[in-house]
Amino acid sequence: MVDKAKWGMVIDLDRCNGCTVCVTACSMENNIAHVGEADAGYGRSMQWIRIERYWEGEYPNIVSRFMPVMCQQCGNAPCEPVCPVYASYHSEAEQLNVQIYNRCVGTRYCGNNCPYIVRQFNWFDYAKDMPEPLNYQFNPDVTVRRRGIMEKCTFCIQRIRRAEEAAEAQGREVRDGDVQPACAQACPSEAIVFGLLADPNSQVSHLARNARAQRLLLEELGTEPRVIYLKSERGTKR
């Protein structure tokens, strides 16, 4: 864990039951394109969160494990230095890894260099095919992306901004609990918890000190991820 981290997320793998509600909520909140049957079948479905499912053991003694993987908002992100036009860059204020859609030229280099494989590419103008009433569901706070650009999880930065503006209007700092991204809000088993990692008394900081928070995902690469996974002990002997 790095001292500079501001926002952080804790995912309790014991609580995740793989229901994919977070994926749906994320798609609605962030105007993520629906790619259609053919492209989804070809492996181009766009989701900012993917639920990895692993089976352990042989039938009937089988344990299923789920791991939601989204952008880890690396403090030292591999996608940032490779972008020739600074479309992928580091927000020093929020300590997030942000993607500037209208700056992206579509080299897809960041997608190759992301060790978590969480970056998504807009292969076509998917939003253009949205039939008439359905386009009203678009979130006005989020850009509808066009073809040829990269996108990825933003930790719902539009919600972070809104909370910060509200806090500023009230003349205070933003507090833990002010912001909830769509996935954390939707998660029925409260497996996803989001908050201020910079505040040692916040819920995420509290959870991050849990004995099950042993390693960060691909910590050995030095990416300094901001998502903390609580190890699943379900199905194992305590």
């Binding site: 490779v82 080299t107 076509f124 103008d125």
Partner: protein
């Protein structure tokens, strides 16, 4: 110019063969060679125009048409998908950059080392460099998701003070390719000046006007020759580091990342060796085509040249093999699981058939054939071997680009890739290269006559008693 006669080095010349088989020991008058080269440029037969027509059609449909279609609909018409974000376009880019290395290698390095067998085909190789770079330089653009804003990678002053990211290997690439294109074009042009001046003096009409423009008023005075030789000498030395840096930088596109398989410090020299390997093989293919299709070329391009290039290919095959397996051994010795995934995919996984084909093309066939002098001296056989080596090297690039990124640290996301419109555009770009070459073969003298002439004056057969001793003068 000072001349000093020396016995021809042993080994380069076998006792039993006829010295007249060597171009440099079989001199013809300068004027006769001029006429031969001029005739090869002027002869445009019916089949020539058919070839030009077919190639133009292919370029218009497969390259321009398919590219415009892709830009208008979206990158999705290509086969790339997550996690294989780079596909055949980037493999083609690396391949054509590799082809473009041959010209500089053959021309500059052999010139610096005074290898005289290079003389008749330096220009043919330099043209490959220029046209290979044109094709290679297109691929990063073809591959962009939003090609209409590609100029954002160029540093230009703008109202927002946004500059390209100089930490990105793609920005280095852009700079390296521009530098190489510029310097290799100049390097192609300098030795061309005396030859276009010759062509100017032997032609009339539009050709005369074109060559007069290109010859820059060359008259062939001693001072002009002196300056030209100095300039060529400076360029030959200066372009070698540029050539090595270009492919090293291209390899850094891969080596700088954290992607398993790509993350390797050996990539710089490995890519340079691979580039020269495929490039020299491509020179052999081009020389065969020139020899069989252009008039009077059997005099200039001889079996001895195929022989010499065959030896070069064999040496580069050894070097390439060493680098390839060094990379493999490091991955094995390092014991990183993600590297193991990549190599398993190549050796036992879905790419195994390509991997073994590559080993046969790049190692087995050159090693089993090129030791044989009879095979090396047979242009048709050398053409076949050049083709096989280039096929193998293309597969190698394909395995490195979409092959290696189809495996990563998350087995859940693994996915292979099938090229779609990439195949069409690849055919189009190959046609563009061939079209440019075919047109150039009728527009500029493909044989540097003055260089051949210079070599022939330096090489003489002297009769000492009953034996004929080939001698070579040092030209300074």
């Amino acid at each position: 110019m000072t001349a000093k006669a020396m016995p021809f080095p042993k080994g380069e010349f076998q006792e039993e063969e006829d010295p007249q088989e060597h171009l440099l020991f079989d001199p013809r008058p300068r004027e006769e060679m001029n006429q031969m080269v001029m005739e090869s440029m002027r002869s445009t037969t019916g089949p020539f125009w058919v070839v030009v027509g077919i190639l133009t059609l292919l370029v218009l449909v497969c390259l321009v048409g398919a590219w415009v279609y892709m830009a208008l609909t979206g990158m999705g018409v290509a086969g790339v998908r997550r996690p294989t974000y780079w596909g055949m376009f980037i493999a083609n880019f690396v391949f054509w950059i590799g082809i473009s290395h041959a010209g500089t290698f053959v021309s500059a390095i052999l010139r610096v080392f005074k290898a005289d067998f290079r003389r008749p085909f330096t220009r043919a190789a330099e043209l490959m460099t220029a046209f290979g770079l044109v094709v290679a330089g297109m691929y990063p653009l073809i591959h962009l998701g939003r090609v209409w804003v590609a100029y954002w990678i160029i540093p230009y002053p703008n109202s927002r003070w946004l500059w390209p990211n100089l930490r990105s290997p793609l920005t280095w690439d852009m700079i390296a390719i521009f530098t190489y294109l510029l310097s290799s074009t100049l390097y192609l042009y300098l030795p061309l000046i005396p030859d276009v001046a010759m062509a100017r003096d032997h032609s009339n009409g539009w050709r005369y006007r074109l060559y007069r423009l290109m010859a820059l008023g060359w008259r062939g005075t001693e001072a002009e020759w002196h300056r030209l030789r100095t300039a060529i000498q400076i360029f030959a030395f200066a372009i070698i580091p540029v050539m090595f840096s270009v492919h090293t930088i291209v390899s850094w596109d891969f080596a700088v990342t954290k992607t398993p398989g790509w993350h390797s410090t050996i990539f710089g020299p490995f890519f340079v060796v691979g580039a020269i390997y495929s490039g020299v093989s491509a020179v052999v293919m081009i020389l065969f085509l020139i020899r069989t299709t252009l008039a009077n070329m059997k005099y200039f391009v001889r079996e001895e040249h195929f022989d010499a290039l065959g030896k070069l290919i064999l040496v580069f095959s050894f070097t390439w093999t060493y680098f390839y397996f060094s990379e493999y051994i490091l991955a094995w010795y390092g014991g990183d699981l993600s590297d193991q995934y990549v190599w398993d995919a190549l050796t036992k996984g879905p790419y195994a058939w390509l991997w073994y084909t590559m080993l046969i093309c790049n190692i087995a066939i050159p090693w089993l054939t090129l030791w044989n002098k009879r095979i090396r001296r047979s242009p048709a056989m050398m053409f076949a071997i050049g083709f096989i080596v280039n096929l193998g090297m293309y597969i190698e690039r394909y395995l490195i680009v979409p092959g290696m990124i189809s495996r990563n640290r998350f087995p859940f996301t693994w996915d292979e890739y099938t090229p779609r419109i990439e195949l069409v555009i690849s055919v189009g770009s190959l046609s563009l290269f061939l079209l440019l070459y075919v047109l150039a073969s009728r527009l500029i003298p493909l044989i540097p006559v003055w260089e051949v002439h210079e070599g022939q004056t330096a090489h003489t057969l002297r009769r000492i008693g009953k034996t004929v001793v080939p001698t070579k003068s040092e030209i300074e």
